[in-house]
Symmetry: C2
Subunit: 235 residues, 2 copies
DNA sequence: AGAGCATATTTGTCCGACAATTGACAAGCT
DNA sequence: AGCTTGTCAATTGTCGGACAAATATGCTCT
């Protein structure tokens, strides 16, 4: 009686997740040798075929390297695709370090104001509408979950409105940063809409096609959330 | 007599490259259905096992999705991991469009000044030394190839000096952008060192720990390279 | 002791088989 | 007729075994 239903994902997805998380979270350190394919497959209770599919995916993300006879080793962190959505989420699976949260916020502070500027210049009507719809959903959000969902949609819509898919691909970073922020500030669930005016300011600046104002409004919003995240550690 | 040596890479790497490039370059359009695994494997002259390893990697990059019974389809471009080093390089394999080059430069203009600022604040002695070494190599470069190699190292060293691995992971974008620039400006191979003073200015600002000066110097350098890239199309 | 060789171990590749999923179609019921 | 239901078939998902290729290790011979 095996309870495989723990994760409904396909087998190889489960294996990728387990090993990937072990590596990114530091259980397996760079330079460590993974046991051979055969033993690893047995330990995970999958066939070698499936394990190898998973290993190829991890290798594509830069997490491991494999050479014949020597076996597989965890690569040094500087080779990892840190921007890969999976790598990011694995990194936050076990409560992210304060250090990492700081790096996420730094990325937001670099990306989002610049994205607002680009969006204010190049957004079309439909893209503005998408941002507005997210803003409305934030305003009508009955609880923190609904707010969080709409908030993510807002920031994604802004990225999309830049019409630069390289920029919008960075949404996974913003997503991870915001998700972390939500769990860290869950206790202050009472007035979770406090940042609505700031979001509205961003929307208005983009609507009126004012790049500098949009960037400035976004910068203010990020600064604000930065200080709000420091509060818990101050107590 | 099969000439497999065309690409010395392993089989699955070759398959990943071929299919990935077909998708990213537009030969296969989003929504297109790939033939079944069996036929595809036969067409590529590899076993289904190898093909499947390749497909999993492509799926991990967001390029394809696979469902039972339906088969495999190319996903919409908005799901692609545009920042994945492989995806970036595939995109430039067949002469990148002017539109894409513009997006690459926009990314540089966002990332690198911010990175210079962070590097000026947080770099340690060894990281400064790495930047300086790359600068020296640029100065001593005998030809364009040596210059290009040192130039890449310079920008990578700056990214590394930010001590934010998320930021340094964006090097693949800068790398692609610079590589494109080198091939587009190959004709002006005579005075290929014209940007040396600008690089030196960046180095000096980082050495003296002047964030704003460093960012400004980098901005000037990017603006300059932007105009130099427009020249060919002006004629 | 050093160079070269034999060997064993590990990954790379291939094959054939069966299970699971699910779109499509046909049959039957209301 | 329209809807439901059940069967079928096509495709991916998973498995195990087999052999090839590469190479670290240790042995042998000089």
């Amino acid at each position: 009686m095996i309870m495989k239903m723990a994760n409904s994902r396909s087998l190889h997805a489960r294996v990728v997740g387990e090993i990937g998380e072990s590596i990114v979270s530091g259980v397996l350190r760079p330079g460590d040798a993974l046991l051979g394919e055969a033993q690893l497959a047995a330990q995970m209770e999958v066939s070698r075929t499936i394990l190898r599919e998973a290993l190829k995916v991890l290798a594509a993300k830069g997490l491991i390297e494999t050479r014949q006879k020597t076996g597989m080793r965890v690569r040094d962190a500087r080779f990892w695709n840190h921007l890969d959505p999976d790598v990011l989420s694995w990194r936050c699976a076990s409560m992210p370090t304060e250090d990492f949260v700081g790096k996420l916020v730094e990325m937001r502070a670099i990306i989002e104001p610049a994205a607002c500027m680009a969006a204010a210049r190049r957004r079309d009507a439909a893209q503005l509408e998408a941002i507005g719809a997210a803003l409305d959903a934030m305003e009508d959000a009955p609880d923190l979950d609904a707010w969080a969902e709409a908030d993510l949609r807002f920031h994604e819509a802004v990225l999309t409105a830049t019409n630069n898919e390289l920029l919008s691909s960075l949404f996974s970073v913003i997503e991870t940063s915001l998700a972390t922020f939500f769990v860290m500030s869950a206790r202050t669930a009472k007035n979770f809409k406090y940042s609505l005016p700031q979001h509205r300011a961003v929307y208005e600046a983009i609507r009126r096609r004012r790049p500098n104002e949009a960037a400035e409004a976004m910068r203010a919003m990020i600064d604000d959330s930065r200080t709000n995240m420091r509060k818990p550690s101050r107590k």
